[in-house]
C-alpha cells in the first residue's frame, strides 16, 4: 500500500497539545506546519490508481447494484449504481457502511479448527489444506456410514450460493438449503399456490425501460399507482425490495394513498396517510374481512361499489369453489366472540381496529385502481397462520383487477431474471441411489431422500431449517415416496453466511442440538462454519473457514425487480488475509474428496468444466433472462410471444438469435461476466405489463391463476398441493403439521385456521391473557439480520425505537477475532454512557407507566414456557399497547466477533430466546417468531 507516501506529517506535538488542552494552547501551533508530499502530488498519484468497480451489495438481501470507488487497492466509498434501475443510483446506510464490514478486526482471517468444547470459542489456526483434509475425511466417513443424506449444506443468508449447492449435490446430499427457509415462508405461500410465484409488490420501481409506440426503448418515470396497502411490511427499514423506499414516496407525491397496517409506527408508517396499529397475528382476520366486505358489497351497476373486475375469470380457474368455501364460513359463529366469521365486526374484535375503519379500508381498496395490496415478512411470515393472509392477499389483488396492470401489483418472482441453471447442480439430484430399507433394496433418486419433502414437511418447498434442531437430536424418518421407512441421522451441518443459533428459531434449542453428545462424540459429528464475520454459530463449529467478503468475490445478483434485470458481483479488491471465494472452496474441497476416492466427484464436473471462477458464473448466466416473452407493450415485437428468451439485451434487440419452435425458446448471445463488465455491470431487459395474458409468466400447471390447488386437468391430477396429497394418500398418513390442524391432507382451496399463542383469537390460549399480557413481535434495525453488528457506523444510528443509545458506561476488555479465534487484546476501551446504540424493548408509554417503569429500566420477559430474555425498555408512543417489539438479531449477542454489540449482550434482548421451540407453522415449518406472549418483570 502506497497511501503512507501521502501522509501529511507536521507539528505533531503542538497539535496534540491543542487537542488535549483546548484552543488557547493550540494558538502557538499556528503556521508552523509543512507537508511531506505536496497535496497536488498526492492527489495525482491517487487518481492514477483510482477506479470505480460495479458490483452487488450483500449488506442486506436487497443486493443493490453498487459503484465502489477503489483508491490504491483500498475500497474507499460505496455508492449506488445509476445504471441498475433496481436502486437506480442510491444506497442506504448499510450499503455505504460496507467498508467497515470488509475492513474489520473481527473478520475471520484464517482457517481454524476447534480445540475446546463447542461453544467455548477456542480454536487454533490451521492451513487450508489441514482444514479441508479434516472436513473431507469426516464427510467421506459420514457418507460411508450413513449416506450423503446425513449431510446438510446450509448456504445461509447470502444468495451467491451456487458453488456450494453444486459441490454438495454432486457429493450426493439432497439437503442444500438457504435463508429462505427461515425468512417468511408463510408470506410467500399464496403467490406460490396461485401464480407459481413468491412476492407481490407494487409497481413502483422506476425507471422502467419500456418499448414505445415508435419502436424505441425509453426509460419511463411515471407513477400510476393510486393506492398501496402495506400490511406487516416495512420496506423502508427492511430494504429487501429496495425500490419501495423512493417508489412509495414518489407514488404518494404523485397522488397515491398509502395505508400501513402495523402494530408499530415503522419508518414506512411515517409516510402513510393512514397508520392502522393492528393487534399482532391478526392480519389474516383483517384480510378475510376485507374480502368478505368486497364480495358482499360489490355491485356491477354502481360505479361507487364496482370493486371486482370480472375479467380475472378469463385468466384464472377455480374461483367458484374458492368463493363457495370462503362463504361457507359466513354463517358460522366464532366461539371467541360469538360473531359471524369474517364480518367487519368480527374482525374488529380480533384486530383491535374499528369496524368502520375496516369497512373503509375494504371500500377504499375495492374502489381505488390501480392499487396494490402488499403483505410482509414479519407481519405475515412470522405467524402460524400467515398462509391464510398470503392467500387472501393474493386473491384481493386478482379479483380487483390489480395484478399486472400499470401501477398495480406484480409478482416479482415471476418476472425477475432467471440464473443458475446447470451451475446449481440440480442434475445431480436426479442420480439414482440404493438404500436398504427393512432388508429390501430400494433404488430411487437422490432428491427422494429429502428429509422435509419425504418426511415431516412435504410442502416445505423452501426447506425447514427452523426444525433442524429436532432432526439433529432425533434423526430423520422418511414417511413418503420410494424411500418410505428409511431412517438416517444428521451427522454434518455445514453453515455458510448464516447464523441459525440466533435466527433459526429458538436459540437454546439450537445450542442443545449442536452440543448434544452420544458418549464423548457430538451427535452432529461435523459442524463447519464458513463466513466473513464470526457470529454465534461459529462458536459451535469444529472448523471455521474464512470466506472472501462480497468485495473480494464474484457471483450474480439475486433480486426482485419489476422486470428482468441482472447484475454482476465482481472482484473489487484483492482477497484479504487467507480468505477464499465460494468457487475456490468448492474446487479445493472437490479435489480433496476426489483424491480420497469419492466416486461422485469427477474432474470433468469441476476443475475441468470450470477452470476459472468466471467460467462457473458464465454457466449460471446462460439462463438469463429465461422468462416468457409476454405482456404489453411487448418487449421485442420482432420475437415470438410466450417463447422463453435467453441472451443479452442487445443480441435480442438486434435479432441475433436462434428460434427454437419446438422448445419454444429464443436464444441470443449468452450474457457473460465480461459483457456485464462492459455495460456498467448490468443487463436490463424491457418491462411490460399484462404478463399473465395467455399464460405468460404464470408458472401454475393450468397456466392460469389457480384458486384450487389439487384439481383435474385433462385427466391428470394437477395443482401445487396435488403431488403432496398423492404421497400422503399412498402412505395413508398425514404429516404432523396437518395433524395439528386435524387435516388428513392439503386442502383443495380456501382454508382457515387460528394462529398459536394468541390469547385474543385462539381459545386454547385465552387462559394466558391476564398473566402474560404482552404479545412479542420483532422489527428490523439498520443492521441486516444478525451479520453486520460489528459495523461501527451502524451502531451509531438509531432505528425505529428499537436500536437506541441507551447503553450505560462501560470499560470493556476488547476482543477481536485473531488467528486463533476470539482473542482478548489486553486493551481496555471505555464506552461512555448513551453513545452506542443497543437493542431495546419497545413498549407503549402507558403500559410502562402502569408497571412503574421508565425508559432505560432493565426488565425480564418470560413466556408461559419459561423462556426468558432481558433488556432495557424504551417507552414510546409509537407502538400499540399490549405489544412489545424487539429487534431481530439485535440483542443477547454472545459472539465476541460483534464488537460493541457483544459488550452489551447482558442487557439486550434476544427475541429468539422466546420462540416456541417445538411448534412450527403447519405447512412449511416456519418458526413462529411472531407468536408469543410474555410477562414483564423489572430486574
Amino acid at each position: 500500500m502506497t497511501i503512507k507516501d501521502t501522509t501529511v506529517s507536521r507539528r505533531n506535538f503542538l497539535k496534540m497539545g491543542g487537542v488535549a488542552a483546548g484552543g488557547i494552547a493550540a494558538l502557538g501551533a499556528l503556521g508552523t506546519g509543512f507537508k511531506a508530499v505536496s497535496a497536488a502530488e498526492a492527489r495525482r498519484r491517487l487518481q492514477a490508481e483510482t477506479k470505480t468497480a460495479y458490483t452487488a451489495c450483500v449488506m442486506c438481501p436487497a443486493e443493490c447494484s453498487l459503484a465502489v470507488n477503489v483508491e490504491n487497492g483500498v475500497a474507499s466509498t460505496i455508492y449506488g449504481n445509476p445504471y441498475a434501475p433496481l436502486n437506480s443510483g442510491v444506497a442506504c446506510a448499510k450499503g455505504a457502511s460496507g467498508i467497515q464490514m470488509v475492513y474489520n478486526a473481527n473478520r475471520i482471517k484464517y482457517p481454524m479448527i476447534r480445540v475446546g468444547e463447542r461453544g467455548e470459542g477456542k480454536f487454533k489456526r490451521v492451513s487450508w489444506d489441514e482444514a479441508l483434509e479434516f472436513i473431507a475425511d469426516k464427510l467421506m466417513q459420514i457418507k460411508k456410514e450413513h449416506g450423503a443424506e446425513s449431510i446438510i449444506m446450509d448456504a445461509g443468508d447470502v444468495t451467491d450460493r451456487d458453488p456450494y449447492y453444486y459441490l454438495f449435490r454432486a457429493f450426493g446430499t439432497p439437503h442444500t438449503v438457504e435463508h429462505g427457509a427461515i425468512c417468511d415462508t408463510p408470506r410467500r405461500h399464496g403467490p406460490k399456490l396461485m401464480f407459481g410465484g413468491k412476492r407481490v409488490e407494487p409497481d413502483v420501481m422506476r425507471p422502467v425501460l419500456v418499448r414505445q409506440p415508435d419502436g424505441s426503448l425509453k426509460n419511463d418515470y411515471s407513477y400510476r399507482t393510486r393506492l398501496i396497502v402495506y400490511a406487516g411490511w416495512n420496506p423502508f427499514t427492511a430494504t429487501r425490495i429496495v425500490y419501495e423506499s423512493r417508489g412509495t414516496v414518489e407514488a404518494k407525491l404523485n397522488g397515491a394513498k398509502i395505508i400501513v397496517i402495523d402494530p408499530a409506527l415503522s419508518n414506512t408508517a411515517t409516510k402513510a396517510d393512514q397508520w392502522l396499529p393492528i393487534r399482532p397475528g391478526t392480519d389474516p382476520d383483517l384480510f378475510v374481512a376485507v374480502l368478505r366486505y368486497i364480495l358482499e358489497n360489490h355491485n356491477d351497476d354502481d360505479p361507487f361499489r364496482r370493486y371486482i373486475d370480472w375479467s380475472f375469470l378469463d385468466y384464472s380457474q377455480g374461483w367458484e369453489e374458492f368463493e363457495a368455501e370462503f362463504k361457507s364460513w359466513w354463517n358460522k359463529k366464532d366461539p371467541v366472540n360469538g360473531l359471524n366469521y369474517f364480518t367487519v365486526e368480527w374482525a374488529a374484535e380480533r384486530t383491535g381496529l374499528e369496524a368502520e375503519t375496516i369497512a373503509e379500508l375494504a371500500h377504499t381498496f375495492g374502489i381505488t385502481k390501480p392499487a396494490a395490496w402488499v403483505w410482509g415478512m414479519n407481519g405475515i411470515g412470522h405467524h402460524y397462520n400467515g398462509y391464510v393472509a398470503s392467500i387472501i392477499g393474493t386473491a384481493l389483488n386478482v379479483i380487483t383487477g390489480n395484478m399486472e396492470v400499470p401501477g398495480g401489483a406484480i409478482d416479482t418472482e415471476l418476472v425477475k431474471s432467471d440464473k443458475g441453471g446447470n451451475a446449481k447442480g440440480g442434475d445431480f439430484l436426479k442420480r439414482e441411489v440404493t438404500r436398504v430399507i427393512n432388508g429390501q433394496e430400494v433404488t430411487a433418486t437422490v432428491d427422494e431422500l429429502h428429509m422435509d419433502w419425504y418426511g415431516k414437511w412435504p410442502a416445505g418447498w423452501d426447506d425447514v431449517v427452523g426444525d433442524y434442531p429436532d432432526r439433529f437430536l432425533n434423526g430423520v424418518k422418511l414417511k413418503y415416496g420410494p424411500f418410505r421407512g428409511h431412517e438416517y441421522p444428521i451427522k454434518a451441518f455445514i453453515i455458510r453466511t448464516g447464523n441459525p443459533v440466533i435466527t433459526g428459531s429458538n436459540t437454546d434449542k439450537w445450542i442443545e442440538a449442536l452440543t448434544a453428545k452420544d458418549g464423548d462424540e457430538y451427535r452432529v459429528g461435523l459442524v463447519v462454519y464458513i463466513d466473513t464475520p464470526f457470529l454465534e454459530t461459529g462458536m459451535y463449529a469444529d472448523v471455521v473457514l474464512p470466506e472472501a467478503s462480497y468485495l473480494e468475490r464474484m457471483s450474480l445478483s439475486d433480486i426482485y425487480p419489476s422486470h428482468q434485470l441482472i447484475y454482476l458481483r465482481d472482484f473489487v479488491i484483492d482477497k484479504m488475509y487467507e480468505s477464499k471465494t465460494q468457487y475456490d472452496i468448492m474446487i479445493a474441497l472437490a479435489k480433496k474428496l476426489h483424491e480420497k476416492g469419492d466416486p461422485d466427484i469427477k474432474p470433468e464436473d469441476f476443475w475441468e468444466r470450470f477452470p476459472s471462477e468466471e467460467d462457473f458464473w458464465n454457466e449460471a448466466l446462460k439462463k438469463a433472462p429465461g422468462r416468457a416473452h409476454a405482456g404489453e407493450p411487448l418487449p421485442y415485437p420482432h420475437l415470438p410471444v410466450n417463447y422463453k428468451l435467453y441472451g443479452t439485451p442487445d443480441s435480442l434487440e438486434a435479432g441475433n438469435v436462434t428460434i427454437d419452435d419446438e422448445g419454444k425458446k429464443v436464444v441470443g448471445e449468452y450474457v457473460t461476466a465480461q459483457w456485464l463488465r462492459e455495460h456498467h455491470g448490468v443487463a436490463v431487459w424491457p418491462m411490460s405489463w399484462y404478463r399473465f395474458k395467455n399464460g405468460g409468466v404464470l408458472k401454475t400447471d393450468s397456466k392460469k391463476v389457480d384458486f384450487t390447488w389439487d384439481y383435474d386437468l385433462d385427466g391428470n391430477r394437477k395443482g401445487r398441493y396435488a403431488k403432496y396429497n398423492k404421497r400422503i394418500e399412498e402412505a395413508g398418513e398425514a404429516p404432523p403439521g396437518l395433524q395439528d390442524l386435524g387435516w388428513d391432507k392439503y386442502p383443495r382451496t380456501f382454508y382457515w385456521f387460528e394462529t398459536r399463542w394468541n390469547p385474543y383469537t385462539n381459545p386454547d390460549y385465552a387462559k394466558y391473557r391476564d398473566e402474560y399480557p404482552f404479545q412479542v413481535i420483532s422489527g428490523r434495525i439498520h443492521h441486516a439480520m444478525s451479520g453486520t453488528q460489528m459495523v461501527d457506523w451502524l451502531g451509531r444510528l438509531t432505528a425505529e425505537d428499537l436500536w437506541v443509545p441507551l447503553n450505560d458506561e462501560r470499560v470493556v476488555e476488547e476482543m477481536v477475532i485473531g488467528e486463533n479465534g476470539p482473542t482478548p487484546t489486553g486493551r481496555k476501551v471505555r464506552i461512555p454512557k448513551n453513545t452506542w446504540c443497543i437493542g431495546v424493548i419497545q413498549m407503549n408509554r402507558v403500559d410502562g407507566e402502569k408497571l412503574g417503569l421508565q425508559t432505560g429500566d432493565l426488565v425480564e420477559l418470560e413466556t408461559p414456557l419459561g423462556h426468558k430474555t432481558r433488556g432495557k425498555v424504551n417507552l414510546v408512543e409509537t407502538i400499540r399497547p399490549g405489544v412489545l417489539r424487539l429487534p431481530f438479531g439485535g440483542g443477547g449477542r454472545f459472539s465476541p466477533g460483534l464488537g460493541k454489540t457483544y459488550d452489551f449482550r447482558d442487557e439486550t434482548p434476544n427475541v429468539n430466546a422466546l420462540v416456541d421451540p417445538d411448534y412450527h407453522s403447519p405447512i412449511m415449518g416456519m418458526s413462529l417468531y411472531g407468536d408469543m406472549v410474555v410477562k414483564v418483570k423489572k430486574v
Partner: protein
C-alpha cells in the same frame, strides 16, 4: 501555498482567499479578536478564476432517453456542468431537502462519513428524528441536517484566526492549517453543524491497528490529507462543505447521490433552469431558524 495545489476552479479560490486572509492576519493577529466583523467579509469576486474546461469533469450518467420524467441524478449533473462553466462567484450552491421523501435510512450520514473520511463521533449530516403526538395519533419525520452554508455565517465572525470564511460560491470553508481548534465556531453555529476532530480512530475501539480505510486521504478542499496523529484535520473544527471536491468535478455531493428516498437535491440556485431553483420556488419551502437572519442555503420542502 503553491497555486497548483488544488485541482480546478473553486478550490483555487480557496487558495486565493487563504492568501488574502494570511495578509490580513499578518497585519494584526489580535485585530481580528477586537473587531471580528472584519473576518466576516466575503472575498472580492476578482479572486475568482475562470472555469475548468468541461473535459475534466466527470461525464453525466448515460441513461436511455426518458419519457414522463427524468432521472434526477442526470438532471442535477447537467445542472452542475452548467454552473461549472460560470466563474465561481456567479455560482450559488444550494441544497433542497424534501422532508416528505426522507425515509430515515441514514444513507446520507454514512455516505458522507465515508466520502469525507470522518472519525468516530463526527457526522456532517446527521438525520434527526422528530416524533410528535400521543398514541395512536403519532407523527414522525426525519430531518437531515447538513451545514446550512449560511449567507451570514455566525461561525465565521467568531474565528479568532480567520481560518474559516465564506467562499464566493457561498460555501463556508475551513483552512485546517490555520485552524487552532479553539472551537468558538462550534459554539457559535446555531445548527450544531460543526464538530471538533478529537483525534480518534475507529480502530481505537477495535484492536488498535489502523484499518486501510482509515489511512485513506480525505478529499476535503482538494487537499487529500491523511488523518494521522498530530496532523490536521485532527485538532481542527470540521464541517460539511457540500462535498466541494466532488461538485467541482461535476459530481453530486455524497448525500445527494446516495439518498434512498431521492429527498435531497443540489445545484446552483442562481441558475433559473436548475432543479434546485425550481424547487426553492415552491410554496412549501422553509428554512431552519430563519429568524436568526443567517440566510441558510439549505431549503426544506415540507
Amino acid at each position: 501555498m503553491t497555486p497548483d495545489k488544488s485541482s480546478e476552479t473553486g478550490l483555487l479560490q480557496t487558495e486565493e482567499s487563504r492568501r488574502s486572509f494570511l495578509g490580513k492576519f499578518a497585519g494584526g493577529v489580535f485585530a481580528g479578536l477586537v473587531a471580528p466583523a472584519v473576518a466576516g467579509q466575503v472575498e472580492p469576486a476578482a479572486a475568482a478564476p475562470p472555469s475548468a474546461p468541461a473535459g475534466q469533469l466527470t461525464p453525466v450518467i448515460d441513461l436511455p432517453e426518458a419519457v414522463e420524467g427524468e432521472h434526477p441524478q442526470k438532471r442535477m449533473m447537467e445542472d452542475l456542468r452548467r454552473a461549472l462553466q460560470k466563474p465561481v462567484d456567479q455560482r450559488k450552491w444550494a441544497m433542497v431537502i424534501d422532508l416528505r421523501k426522507c425515509v430515515g435510512c441514514n444513507g446520507c450520514t454514512i455516505a458522507c462519513i465515508t466520502e469525507n473520511k470522518l472519525p468516530p463521533g463526527i457526522a456532517y449530516r446527521p438525520v434527526m428524528t422528530e416524533t410528535h403526538g400521543t398514541y395512536p395519533h403519532v407523527a414522525r419525520r426525519f430531518v437531515p441536517r447538513p451545514c446550512m452554508q449560511c449567507d451570514n455565517p455566525p461561525c465565521v465572525d467568531v474565528c479568532p484566526v480567520h481560518a474559516t470564511w465564506k467562499r464566493a460560491d457561498g460555501i463556508v470553508a475551513i483552512d485546517y492549517d490555520k485552524c487552532i481548534g479553539c472551537r468558538y465556531c462550534i459554539t457559535a453555529c446555531p445548527y450544531s453543524a460543526r464538530s471538533f476532530d478529537a483525534g480518534y480512530f475507529y480502530s481505537d475501539f477495535e484492536g488498535g491497528e489502523r484499518q486501510p480505510y482509515e489511512l485513506l486521504p480525505s478529499p476535503e478542499y482538494g487537499e487529500d490529507r491523511v488523518r494521522a496523529e498530530g496532523g490536521s484535520p485532527i485538532g481542527n473544527a470540521r464541517k460539511c462543505t457540500f462535498c466541494l471536491h466532488r461538485i467541482e468535478r461535476g459530481e453530486l455531493p455524497a448525500c445527494t447521490l446516495t439518498c434512498m428516498g431521492r429527498a435531497t437535491y443540489f445545484g446552483d440556485m442562481s441558475d433559473p433552469k436548475s432543479l434546485v431553483a425550481e424547487l426553492i420556488g415552491q410554496p412549501n419551502v422553509m428554512r431552519l431558524k430563519e429568524e436568526l437572519g443567517t440566510d441558510p442555503k439549505v431549503f426544506y420542502l415540507t
